[in-house]
Symmetry: C2
């Protein structure tokens, strides 16, 4: 399997589906649709939607019915970045080398663009075709859980409240599990659900997602201090500067690397029941866990 080709083929499908799902830039009122599209098409890797498609493929070899959910999780991810970048949150001026939404459209419009992407995510995911085991109510509940006050938002809150304070390893894990791993896990679960996964299959993929999601964030933390800005393609040492607690800062670099390896091994083990069918997810996991930027 050619991984690059696998990725870029699905990336194109996601781009096209997102483009179709969002109102055009000229739809009135055009400012909000321009703002939604500005952040949604800012050159993201489409990691979450692609793992949604890959999870669907692991179950039944197809990903057509996972496209809506794939778009929905990308909308949730993008909304969370827009709100996260606001002056009252992380106060970031740049995202992927481009000015952040509030820098371009103003703070009020950035709040609304995030709100609108969050709202449309539910409309999009609800259009997923029901399977024998799951329906719109299940898909919506999954997105609401991942994005809600016990998931993504819980992570943001704990992050916001922890700034400048000493963080224990347990608190850090709490933040990362919610801020990063929850949506990655649901991205995988939604793909599997749209392919009518059995309860057992869903449990295995959930286990895979939780470990992959956490490992992804630990590695992100590690790269922030071990790589140069040039290698990362974004400012290195950002966490240190913002006095954010990270795995290396709380556990030390050695222990953080060991933790990443442990989580990676657990993620990999969870794919065992799928045998050769799990190849796409395995390659994605390899790619994420061995990346240098």
């Amino acid at each position: 399997m050619d991984f690059k080709q696998y990725w870029s083929a699905r990336q194109k499908k996601v781009e096209a589906a997102l483009n179709k799902a969002l109102p055009s830039s000229s739809t009135k009122p055009s400012t909000i649709h321009k703002a939604m599209r500005y952040s949604l098409f800012a050159g993201g890797k489409r990691l979450r939607p692609i793992i949604t498609l890959a999870a669907a493929e692991v179950i039944n070899g197809k990903y057509d019915n996972a496209l809506a959910a794939a778009c929905a999780v990308e909308c949730i991810h993008t909304y969370s970045l827009i709100h996260d970048d606001l002056p009252c949150m992380d106060n970031d001026d740049l995202r992927r080398g481009k000015p952040t939404s509030h820098k371009v459209f103003g703070e009020g419009m950035a709040v609304l663009a995030g709100d609108a992407l969050l709202t449309i995510a539910f409309e999009i995911v609800a259009a997923t075709r029901p399977t024998a085991r799951y329906n719109a109510a299940d898909y919506v509940k999954e997105v609401a859980y991942a994005g809600g006050s016990l998931g993504l938002i819980a992570g943001q809150v704990a992050d916001l409240e922890g700034e400048g304070k000493k963080t224990t390893p347990a608190q850090l894990r709490y933040i990362h599990e919610r801020k990063t791993a929850a949506l990655i896990t649901s991205s995988i679960r939604l793909g599997a659900m749209s392919s009518n996964a059995t309860e057992k299959q869903l449990a295995s993929l959930t286990e895979f997602g939780q470990n992959l999601g956490l490992a992804f964030q630990v590695i992100d933390d590690i790269l922030d201090i071990t790589q140069t800005s040039e290698q990362l393609g974004k400012s290195a040492g950002k966490d240190l500067k913002a006095q954010k607690s990270t795995y290396p800062s709380v556990l030390g670099l050695k222990k953080a690397e060991a933790e990443a390896a442990r989580l990676t091994a657990r993620a990999s083990a969870a794919l065992k029941p799928f045998g050769k069918n799990a190849e796409p997810l395995e390659l994605i996991a390899d790619f994420l866990l061995n990346r240098k930027n």
Copy 2:
């Protein structure tokens, strides 16, 4: 029918259902759940949820299956107030005589509390029991449309962009239809859908809702300049001070009053097909349109 008793009985049901639907104040992370509850239980009249219940009753005399949708529209309404009050939007310090969310919890937390209420609205509405004609996908789509970039958010955007500029009657209608009437209309539609309304019944109630929603806002505009702060129980003349375009400021008071009467008559006419069954909605419309605060 004793209207006061009718209202207060349903209000109690809505309070109880909202209380059950929201995580408790002590659920971790507690700050976000305290913030969600602070605004949701700030003494609102529960207008939107009660018209959801009333619309359900008009169709089949019952409102049990409309309770989830009723809670969802109140969560949407409350989220929109929290974000609307932010310094980067209307910058209001007080709401119903109490400090606004960002004044109590800080701006970052207020953004997140709004996000969390918006998110949970979809989880709640998706739990509505499907009827022969409608299912979770329909309910979610309805909420997403009312709250999204073509509904509520479109109204906010046009409002934000219109500040300090001269507004035409058509632009003002555009704003009010989206900022106020869209969610009121969907509140009614959701109640009707949860009671398995026919297409024709839904069309009549949609017509009712659009006219009621618009009339409600025109009257709000009129009261802002004709009543004292004491009569209103909130600062009178707020729109004038904020240089907001309103029906009286754009059309003049006389024409605004005529427009309110015209819309009211149209709303009333749309209820004709329901005969005596429409009594609750008629009384609610009377109450809203003849109110003095």
